[in-house]
Every structure is written in structure tokens, then in C-alpha cells.
Symmetry: C2
Subunit: 402 residues, 2 copies
């Protein structure tokens, strides 16, 4: 049985949260391991209306209904708002509507209408809400804001005007299962690491929309007192903190001195090169964070992406594999190119047995993705004295570039 939480987070606003400790690969892709993730749904109760905002992943539909029943007769739910259609939030919709007798009106962006049908076979009442539209429901004033690509195109947020609560969907959420509901000082710093990881993996490709949509929210002069996202902590003590943090990650603001060193090593040659780079970085008072893919280690690419987001610069070291970049490094390069801001200079090293081609190809790919490539050093087999010198020089070049 998953752990669930039911909490009154404000007068007539309830949080329903489930702690998903089962998902090992979020979106079947990101290795969240045993960190887990939460799905947050919210319920608003007024005199005339019972408004449900999002649900839980389908796996937890039964538990969702059990929790919902503790707050309300499910037949009394009058409105269900879908902030976006991704099934980790919309997955229990059908079961809720079945118990509800399909009485509730489903609200969402007009693009969600077809998806409600094709994802869940639901052909019921659907109301498309427009950007900026307000809806008064028995003393509650809801304002809908279209925030496209956070992280699906049809994403909306709901602002509960009277209370200053912004229900933000995926935005302002993070991985992990925080030990509290709210943004308590003692847990925020640790949790932000998982927020960073979530942004760089799940939303990274749409990072310019983080900035755009936050600007859009700002322009409305909303008096946001609480941010209630669909994953992780609810921000009531310092909602501005998570907005600023999202902006910072979206823009790739670097942590001073942090250098991400990514290498794969089939038989130790690239491992040796990584050692040379790391020692030289430390000599220059840099803080290398190292991800090594070897015959015994395969670190999570999810964590690597989080560390790429606020790195000051990166070193990528690849073996030559079948006259090309090593496949795992190629995969990681694809992920970084899509999801990480290109304001990080990159040093590329590669080991070859036959011909130095992998380093140049990798450089081209990063250049196309608008990352400045500071240098490319290719060496035959294990780095010999001369290669070591070239690696040290190029590391210094990277250090002085920043």
C-alpha cells in the first residue's frame, strides 16, 4: 500500500498526495531509483461547488478514491480541472467519473477535449477554458492561465484569487518524496536538488517556456501566497523561492566552480584521462562532479542532467566505438543538447585505437547545439606523457574560459 496524505492546506483547500515509491523510471526514462515522486491532487469546497484539481496516476486510482471519499461524497464533485493531460495526473479520471456518475463537468484547455476521449474513453461534459477566463463558483473565484509547454502544450494553471493560491501543475514541482507537505526550511535545500533534476529532465526541452510563462504570470500581478504544484512540496512559506529557482535552472545559472566531468571507459584509457582532468581541476580550485560509465558502474543519467543544469562548464570524455562516439556518450549528448542551456563551455577528450574521429564528431554535435567547445584532445590508447600535457593544457583553457 502506498503512503497517502490528506491535508487541509487552507480553509477550504485540501491536498490529496500519494507517495509513489514504486516507479523506478519516471516517464519510463529517468532513473529516480528509490527517491520516488509524489502526485498531488487538490480539492476546493464551497457552498455550491466541489472542485477537484487533477488526480493521481492510474496505478493509485483506488487509493485516490478512498482518500477522496474521506472528504466528500464523490457524487458531489461538480468540477474536475485538468491542468494538463499527462497521465500521472489525469490517470484516475475515468474511475472518479464512474463513481461520480459522470455528473461533474471536466474543465481544461480546449486541446484537452479530444485527449480526454482518446486517453480515457470519456465523452462527457467538457468545458474548454480560455486563457484569462474567470469562473465564480459559490464564493470561489478561479482564474485560468494558459501556460503552454509546462510541460505539455495544453497546460493551464488555476489561480484561486480570494486565497492567493496558484495551482501550477508540473511547474514548480520536483522529484522525491519530501518528508513534509510544506516548504519547511529544514527540507527545502535538499529538496531543491530534486527540483533541479526534475526540471532538467522532464521540462528541460521547454525551458524557454519556463521563463516566458513566469513572465506572463508576473505581468498579471497575481498576489501569489501559496504555490500548489502537482509534484512535491506545497510552497506557502516562501513561494517566490521556487519561482526564482525555476528561473535559475531554466537559464542554467551556474554554481561557481562546479565542473561536470562525464566519461565512459571501456578499458581504463578514458578513466585515466578523467583522472588527469580531475586533478588539474582541483589544482585550479574547481569542484569536479564526476559521472563515469565503466564495466562496473552506470550512474543515473537523471542525476547527471540535474548536475549539468547548474554546472559552470563540462568535460566529456568518450572512447572511440566503431569509428564513432561511444553509444552511451552519444545518448547523453543528445539529452544534454536538448535539455540543458548552452551557456556552458565544453572540453572534449577522446581515446582512439585507430583514428581520432569521435572527439571531432562530438564537438560538431555540441556546436550545433550552441555550446562553446573550448578544445578537443584526441589521444591514442592510454594518455602518454605528451597527451597528458595536452589534456592539462586544455583543462587550463577550460578553466580560464569561464
Amino acid at each position: 500500500m502506498p503512503k497517502t496524505h490528506l491535508a487541509q492546506i487552507l480553509g477550504d483547500v485540501y491536498l490529496l498526495r500519494v507517495d509513489d515509491e514504486e516507479t523506478r523510471y519516471f516517464e519510463a526514462l529517468w532513473e529516480i531509483g528509490n527517491k520516488g515522486i509524489t502526485y498531488n491532487s487538490y480539492l476546493l469546497m464551497s457552498d455550491d461547488a466541489v472542485v477537484l484539481l487533477d488526480t493521481w496516476k492510474k496505478t493509485y486510482a483506488d487509493e485516490f478514491l478512498e482518500n477522496l471519499r474521506e472528504l466528500v461524497d464523490v457524487r458531489d464533485v461538480t468540477h474536475i480541472i485538468l491542468h494538463h493531460m499527462e497521465p500521472d495526473h489525469s490517470g484516475s479520471l475515468r474511475k472518479v467519473l464512474e463513481e461520480n456518475g459522470f455528473r461533474a463537468e471536466v474543465l481544461g484547455h480546449q486541446l484537452s477535449k479530444n485527449m480526454v476521449r482518446s486517453f480515457y474513453g470519456v465523452n462527457g461534459k467538457f468545458r474548454a477554458v480560455r486563457d484569462g477566463e474567470r469562473l465564480s463558483l459559490g464564493g470561489l473565484t478561479l482564474e485560468f492561465i494558459h501556460t503552454p509547454w509546462l510541460h505539455w502544450p495544453e497546460t493551464i494553471m488555476t489561480y484561486l484569487g480570494d486565497r492567493g493560491v496558484l495551482f501550477s501543475g508540473d511547474a514548480f514541482g520536483g522529484f522525491s518524496i519530501p518528508s513534509a507537505i510544506f516548504d519547511e526550511d529544514r527540507i527545502v535545500p535538499g529538496y531543491l536538488t530534486f527540483v533541479k533534476e526534475y526540471i532538467s529532465t522532464v521540462i528541460g526541452n521547454y525551458r524557454q517556456y519556463i521563463t516566458k510563462n513566469i513572465n506572463k504570470l508576473m505581468e498579471r500581478n497575481l498576489d501569489v501566497k501559496m504555490i500548489a504544484p502537482a509534484h512535491g512540496l506545497v510552497w506557502k512559506n516562501d513561494p517566490k523561492a521556487v519561482i526564482d529557482f525555476y528561473l535559475k535552472v531554466a537559464e542554467g545559472v551556474p554554481e561557481k566552480g562546479k565542473v561536470l566531468v562525464i566519461y565512459a571507459s571501456m578499458y581504463g584509457a578514458c578513466d585515466a584521462a578523467a583522472g588527469i582532468v580531475i586533478r588539474e581541476l582541483e589544482r585550479n580550485r574547481k569542484k569536479p562532479i564526476v559521472y563515469g560509465f565503466t564495466d562496473s558502474e552506470r550512474p543515473p543519467i537523471s542525476g547527471l542532467m540535474g548536475d549539468a543544469a547548474d554546472a559552470e562548464s563540462m568535460v566529456i570524455i568518450t572512447p572511440t566505438y566503431e569509428s564513432d562516439v561511444f553509444p552511451l556518450i552519444s545518448y547523453i549528448t543528445d539529452m544534454i543538447s536538448r535539455k540543458i542551456p548552452g551557456n556552458k563551455p565544453i572540453l572534449i577528450l577522446s581515446s582512439y585505437g585507430w583514428a581520432g574521429v569521435a572527439g571531432k564528431r562530438l564537438a560538431e554535435r555540441f556546436e550545433i547545439a550552441k555550446f562553446p567547445v573550448v578544445d578537443v584532445v584526441e589521444f591514442h590508447g592510454r594518455p602518454d606523457e605528451d597527451s597528458e600535457k595536452r589534456i592539462i593544457e586544455s583543462t587550463r583553457k577550460l578553466v580560464s574560459y569561464v
Copy 2:
């Protein structure tokens, strides 16, 4: 301590084998898990010469020397033959030469000369051997055969003429740690699965050279009585069996009825499509082998490649991810395109939320790699009744294509 084996496999021919149970990712890539792999070195002793053929991975250099010392004073080794330079076999070279006092002559393809220096800093006596060259050493007649791209360009084999032993390097080897030294009937069938996996992953990209080099060996009319590869079983009962098996895998000869179904599923839509395909395949008396990448499962791509090699056809099911093919499916497509013969018809299915683009892109990639794409079915969200019909029809199309 790793398990090691020292065996006299013929009058003056010894096997030195180590069972590597530590490597989880062979070449830092292939998930051999706890199957393991062996490194086989051989020693020939004659009146005037002590000939070492290959060594072990560097990790086991100390154990290698311990075993070698049981057979011979290491200072007495006169020749070291390197069949190819990949460090899982050449890795202990330096330590052996140090204990040997650099007396032994190192023999290999002339392309190996520079690599011996740049991989191990060894600048000693090196003799480049030519294709077809014979060498008589105190009653032993060695014949060297250049077998390029099995699996490095400088690969040679050594044929011990008097005894009919072919020392074949990587070729005719396989993954896993067989419970015996020789090709005993009771273990061969199970072991061949790991041979297939080894071929499709490590040598797959060079599969045309398997056929070419076997033809070359055949043309020489060698009287091969025993095949002694650098990994896995020594073939003395039926050496022809492993030659035929290598040819079969290289050519992708299908197992009748075997259909490989590969899918990724972020939230269950592609999972549902896989279910429809699998039921229809079974209705048609096909044998689906399924690899599903989900939020809880990530099966080994190494095993998948083995199953691709002798599949009769394949079904690939991908979610749409950021307007493209799902990254893991993209990675797998790259591996299959490079390493698996294109004689397998493919059915492609894809689920989309916004627009059907992933299926078409995947089809293009397989077509470029010369795989016949039988059909592409794209469906919105979870397959509805109509999509189910289209999936069933296309599955029948695949079945009747074969």
C-alpha cells in the same frame, strides 16, 4: 578472488582461463549482469620455445602471473602472440613482460606495433607477422592468418598445424562462464544463447567479416580439430558446430515463428498496444519474445540484441516523446540498425498525444538500414476500438509477410 582454471587441453597446449564475475557491463556497454565472461589465454611448450597466446584483462594480471608461474618460469617465455589488441586480452602484457625481463618477442599484426606502445608503454621486440606466414618453433608449426574486423582490424588467428588447433581470438567465443572447459553436449545448447548475444553485440557491426573470414579459413583447407577462442568454451568435440553457428547468426538465420516485440510505455498506452499485438501473434501460432521498457522495468539491451539476431520479424512500439521517437527506442534502433542483419520485416506502432510523427521517423530509420517496414500504425493516446482493429490487421500483415 576470481575463479581460475589451468588445463592441459592437448599434449603441449595449456589453457589459462579466468572467470570474470565482476564485469557488469562488457565494454562498459553490454549488460552481462551476473552471467559473466571468461578470458582465455593459451600456452604452447616445445623444446626451444614457450609461446604465450594472449593474456587476461588487466584487473586479473596478478592472478594471470600466478597461474602462468605454475606452468613455467615467466622468464622463459620466448614469444607472446597478440591476436588483437583489445585490452580484455592484451591487458596483462606489460606485467608479463616485466616479470619476463622483456626477453620475449611480441608477435602480432603490424598494425598492433604502435598500439602495444601507446596502450602499454612497451617499446620492446615486436615482430609483425604477415597473413599466411609460418613460423617453426622447436617442433611447433604456427601459421598466422589475418582475419580483419573480428573484431578489430588488426585481428589475427594462429593455427597450430601439427595439432590442428585454431586459436581464434574473439571469434567463436561467447559471453557467460561455462561450467566446463570443453564443448560438452549437456552445456552447449544453453551456452549458444550467450554466443549469439556476444556476436550480436560485440561483433555484430562487422558481421559480414564473419562470413568473409570463415570463407578465407575454409579456402586454406585447414584441418581444424579444435577451436580455442579467447572467451568461453574450447571446441574439441565438434568445432564445426561453432563455425556453423557463427555463420548462422552473422546471416541472421531466423528461428521459425520467433517475433521480437520491443516496446516502451510511459503510461500504459504502448503497453496496451503490445498486448494486442502479442495476442494476435499467439493466435497465429507465432512465438512473441517481449522486451518492455516501462516505469518499473528496463530489460538488458544485450539480451534484446541476442534475440533480435534470430528473430523472424520484429514489432517496435514507441511513445512519441518531444515530437520524436522515445529516446530508449531511438537508442535501440541505432544498435539494431548497426548490428543486426536487415532480413527481418518490421512492424512499427506509435502512440501520440499531439501528432503522429514518431512512427514515421522510426520507419525511415529502419528503411535506411535496409529493413523492410511492413506497416506503420500511429494511434492517439490508448488504442481505441478502431486503432485496435488497425493494429490487428497490421500484425496479420507482418505474419503473412514472412
